[in-house]
């Protein structure tokens, strides 16, 4: 019994920092005007919604990262806790690396890869290259 308790404490002590690190998901909808998307950001930490964070949302393209200066937008708190709303004005469709800069309780920067098309945005699971012939 003691051994297993010890094991448990050790596990807790070395709680993976990742658990403290925030995670985020995006749900974006195309607004009808070219390349503008309304996005709902769900911010979590250790599985729990993370309210009260101030998020600046930017975006960059994988190729030529420094040449696309998308205007960063401050996200507004959404209906439920840990949800935030932001309107993203991108230059073109395709795969974008969405940058969430977190201030407030958690200081961090998250990069999320989403493929934006005429309906909305889908997460890019394997951000591999476009199928090269």
């Amino acid at each position: 019994m003691a051994k297993s308790a010890l094991f448990l404490i050790l596990a807790l002590a070395s709680l993976p920092a990742a658990a403290q690190r925030a995670q985020a998901e995006l749900e974006c909808r195309f607004t009808g005007t070219d390349f503008v998307y309304d996005c709902l950001i769900r911010l979590k930490r250790a599985g729990e919604p993370l309210p009260g964070a101030s998020i600046t949302v930017g975006a960059d393209m994988p190729s030529m990262p420094m040449a696309h200066n998308i205007r960063p937008v401050k996200a507004k708190p959404g209906k439920n806790p840990g949800e935030y709303l932001a309107r993203l004005d991108l230059e073109m469709r395709g795969e974008w690396a969405v940058k969430l800069r977190l201030a407030g309780p958690v200081k961090d920067q998250l990069i999320l890869h989403y493929d934006f098309d005429e309906k909305g945005a889908r997460p890019v699971i394997r951000s591999g290259r476009l199928p090269r012939k």
């Binding site: 070219d34 073109m92 469709r93 395709g94 098309d117 005429e118 476009l130 199928p131 090269r132 012939k133």
Partner: protein
């Protein structure tokens, strides 16, 4: 194992055929103008996008789409020639190349704005099942690609060695000053050779998109890189070298992809070019001219 070897060789020759055409187009422009046209691929993409745009709106037949691809490519090629190469004829090669790169950006963004989707279907060159030759299978569109490539090379050879225009082109390639003294109008030859190179590129582009049945904005960069790679492999400025370089690149990629996968395929192609350039700058097919 033996079956794979032959199958890969067949696939390699097919993609090699398209690379050969791209390399020939690049070499025609480089041989005559002594300039690198980075907008060569993007002009082809522009032609293919024009055809796709037409197909999406008006459903064109295969032949009609081919004509539109060629027209679009030749048009884009003429635009590039007028803005990037005509003004720099006696000027610096770097300025012409960077200008052609600037138009690459332009052509690519134009295409993306006109057709924002990331991938467009393109009508297939041939719908049916691949031919079964014993254990090997050869897709009919691959066969068509090889045939059209051979036909294009024969036509080009006839143009260069049987016509007055061809005589002038070869003269300009070999000795531009003497060609002018012989009365050959250099600017006129440049414009027309650009059109011929664009035509060859358009054929290659059409074959590529119709056999892969898809068009992506990456086609511009991809065909520029593959065209230059094949041209350099074969030996700069030599047309037979370009065909050889194209086929060699196709074979190298097919076999290395089979054994090591796509990333190593590209790695092998680039490694070979690097070693070749370091050891034998004039490529497989030795040409007397070095490109300074």
């Amino acid at each position: 194992m033996f079956v794979d070897l032959i199958q890969n060789t067949l696939d390699g020759l097919t993609s090699g055929a398209a690379y050969a055409l791209l390399a020939v187009g690049f070499t025609l422009i480089f041989g005559v103008l002594r300039r690198v046209n980075l907008s060569y691929g993007p002009a082809i993409m522009f032609g293919c996008y024009a055809a796709t745009w037409f197909h999406v709106h008006f459903q064109g037949g295969l032949l009609l789409l081919a004509v539109i691809t060629i027209a679009g490519t030749v048009l884009a090629g003429a635009y590039v020639e007028r803005l990037c190469f005509a003004p720099h004829r006696d000027g610096s090669a770097i300025a012409a190349m960077v200008a052609s790169f600037a138009l690459w950006m332009q052509l690519e963004e134009l295409a993306i704005l006109a057709m924002p989707k990331h991938l467009y279907a393109f009508p297939a060159l041939y719908e049916g099942r691949p031919l079964a030759l014993g254990p090997f299978s050869l897709r009919v569109e691959a066969l068509l690609m090889l045939l059209v490539t051979v036909a294009t090379c024969v036509a080009l050879h006839r143009l260069l060695y049987r016509s007055r225009f061809g005589l002038a082109v070869r003269a300009v390639i070999e000795q531009p000053v003497a060609a002018q003294l012989a009365g050959i109008d250099l600017p006129g030859i440049f414009v027309r050779i650009f059109a011929v190179a664009s035509l060859v590129g358009a054929i290659a582009g059409y074959l590529i998109v119709s056999s892969s049945e898809q068009v992506t904005p990456m086609l511009g960069m991809w065909s520029t890189l593959k065209g230059m790679l094949a041209m350099m492999l074969g030996g700069l400025g030599s047309l037979p070298g370009a065909v050889l370089g194209g086929l060699a690149l196709g074979l190298i990629e097919a076999h290395s992809q089979w054994f090591f996968g796509p990333q190593v395929r590209d790695l092998t192609a680039y490694l070979l070019l690097f070693i070749l350039l370091a050891l034998r700058p004039s490529g497989l097919w030795t040409t007397t001219r070095s490109a300074s």
